[in-house]
Amino acid sequence: MKALLYIATFLLWIQHSDAATIDVCADCETNSIREGVVLAKAGDTVLVRAGIYYVSEIVIDKSISLIGIDQPVLDGQNLQKNILEVRAQDVLISGFLLQNVGLSYTKEIAGIHISHSKNFRMTHNTFQNVFYAFILQRAQYGLLKNNVIRGQSVDETKSGNGFHLWKCTDIRIESNTIEGMRDGIYLEFVKNSHISNNRSRKNIRYGLHFMFSDHNEYHHNEFRENGAGVAVMFSKFIQMHHNDFQYNWGTASYGLLLKEINDSEIMNNNFEQNTIGINIDGCNRINYRGNQFVRNGWAIRFTGGCYTNIFEYNNFRHNTFDLSYNSRLNDNKFEANYWSEYTGYDLDRDGIGDVAFRPVKLFSFVVNKTPETIILMRSLFVDLINFSEKVSPIFTPDALKDIRPLMKPIVW
């Protein structure tokens, strides 16, 4: 056993002793990054000193570390080419400012383009004026951390995504800041990935966009003021928890848009002041637990056949509409939530209201049919018809009620 340890240490030492460091700067021996990369062997480190480097299509086809010191600038001069292309395993790229990739209507070009790569780390890079910041295709086991991406997108057709992942597995996207892109983070056919602690703001389409990506987890992210919030579509086994969805305003704007999502958990998220907190379309077997819905236009809106969803221990506070429902049939369970609109009593003082709460108001039914009637919101007449509907439900689904509404909001 001990011998084995010695051998291992020895092997490590050999590997270590092999690794060389190549310095790149304006007046070094090696003065271009391309040259530095060509000179480097697998396991070497290329240190790039501060300065502006006009580069494009640098292909990294061996396992090296490319490290920027004092944030050197890699300028793509708007040539419509990728700046860095990663084609090897075990690559680290860190500490650069990448800019001016250019705009293309036919190609997907990025600051860092990663293809068929494994075990890579991309950290502490800053992107500005890039079409896409990262494109990853068929990549595995990667870490994308502490990157800052800033765009000035105005038009969906003329802009790209912050992180664009296609057919990847086991990727971690952590602690990045993404602003002003088309989609902050876009995942398509991505599996077993974790997205956490990111801040995705002011993107013109979605803060996070998810397609055909099963078994992923995203948590502790902040999605704010995005054009259309966050969209999760056609995926299974998704874990979403401790995220913030705030200030996503507009006609097609959702805190969270769920379409054809099955068997997922949505827990402890905070939905604040969105036009629609969660829009649920054709989603089954999802548990919603411990979420906060504060001052949204619609806290939850069902738009398609949704079955066996369970809503427990959520707080619904001061939403214009807590729930909007488009059919008479209900197979979803609402139990033990706190509703700020609840006016019932609790005679036995066990913290649970003695009369059931009906979250669907007649007025929300009317607004569903005739959207213009929204102008009558908070009118005395509307209060009257809501009250009469509450007493004897005719238009709203009879079974849709919370039989154990909480008297006090849940505090964590």
């Binding site: 305003w249 507009g250 006609t251 097609a252 704007s253 002041q273 969105n274 036009t275 629609i276 001052r295 949204n296 236009g297 619609w298 001061h318 214009t320 509409f321 700020s340 009317v366 049919k369 005739t370 959207p371 213009e372 009637t373 929204i374 102008i375 009558l376 919101m377 908070r378 009118s379 005395l380 007449f381 509307v382 209060d383 009257l384």
Partner: protein
């Protein structure tokens, strides 16, 4: 006119009802804040009350004041005074004293609970502005009605009916019309219809503050422009001003012609 205004104002200030009205708002403010402890939520609750109550109180007060001070008015009419001066003076006396009761009555509890330091100070001030507008509008309307009917009971009935119509029936009719014509583009109609009802107008003003996230959910471009920009605020405020001025103009017109 100032003299008459002053007389009416102090006459009302001495009357019991102004105090009751003032104390009512004072108590309501305290109770709301005591129960909620959340200034923001208290403002929302208050909105529902103010939009219904200030028009009602304005109507009832206006009409009562006219009929009870009728003899004094007739005495004034025999003096060398312009008729418009007399009536506008009286009108302003009633409207200002009512608005003061509202603003001071609600202002005190909210100030004590720290509205000045909270973020809802703007919501609260717009609430008071709306309350003031509604008082001025409905006192003017009730004066119009009172001048049109010599019979006290008839005038009273009509005034209450007017309030009921504006507060409840109008919205009901609007909703039925919109639902039966839902195949047609209705956004212009909806906005236009709202302009003809001061209670709806002030409701919209407050909605712009409180429920903007829901209002922006509707897809019509007209709504978008109206709610999404400062235009909605501007249009509704100027419409409210018109709602004060038009009844006043009509008031002087009737007053000048009426045979007492």
């Amino acid at each position: 006119m100032l003299k008459i205004l002053k007389y009416s104002f102090f006459d009302l200030m001495r009357s019991r009802w102004s105090y009751i009205y003032f104390i009512f708002y004072l108590l309501m403010g305290f109770v709301l804040l005591f129960l909620n402890n959340d200034v923001d939520k208290a403002v929302i609750t208050l909105l529902n009350i103010i939009i219904i109550l200030t028009p009602l109180i304005g109507t009832v007060f206006g009409i009562m004041y006219y009929y009870t001070s009728k003899e004094f008015t007739e005495l004034l009419l025999s003096q060398p005074l312009k008729r418009s001066t007399i009536f506008i003076g009286q009108y302003l006396g009633v409207a200002i004293s009512l608005s003061l009761s509202l603003i001071i009555g609600l202002g005190i509890p909210f100030l004590i609970y720290g509205i000045a330091r909270s973020s809802s100070i703007f919501n609260f001030t717009s609430l008071l502005i709306v309350g003031g507008f509604l008082t001025f509008i409905f006192v003017a309307l009730s004066y119009n009605i009172a001048l049109a009917f010599n019979d006290k009971i008839k005038g009273f009935g009509f005034a209450i009916l007017l309030w009921l119509f504006m507060a409840v029936i109008y919205d009901g009719i609007l909703m039925i019309v919109m639902m039966s014509f839902q195949e047609y583009p209705l956004d212009k109609f909806a906005l236009g219809a709202v302009m003809f009802n001061p209670i709806d107008l002030s409701r919209i003003l407050i909605l712009l503050k409180l429920d903007i996230s829901a209002l922006l959910g509707y897809t019509g471009a007209v709504f978008q422009k109206f709610f999404g920009t400062g235009r909605g605020m501007l249009v509704s405020l100027s419409m409210l001003t018109l709602w004060v001025l038009l009844p006043l103009w009509n008031l002087t017109r009737i007053a000048n012609k009426k045979d007492f």
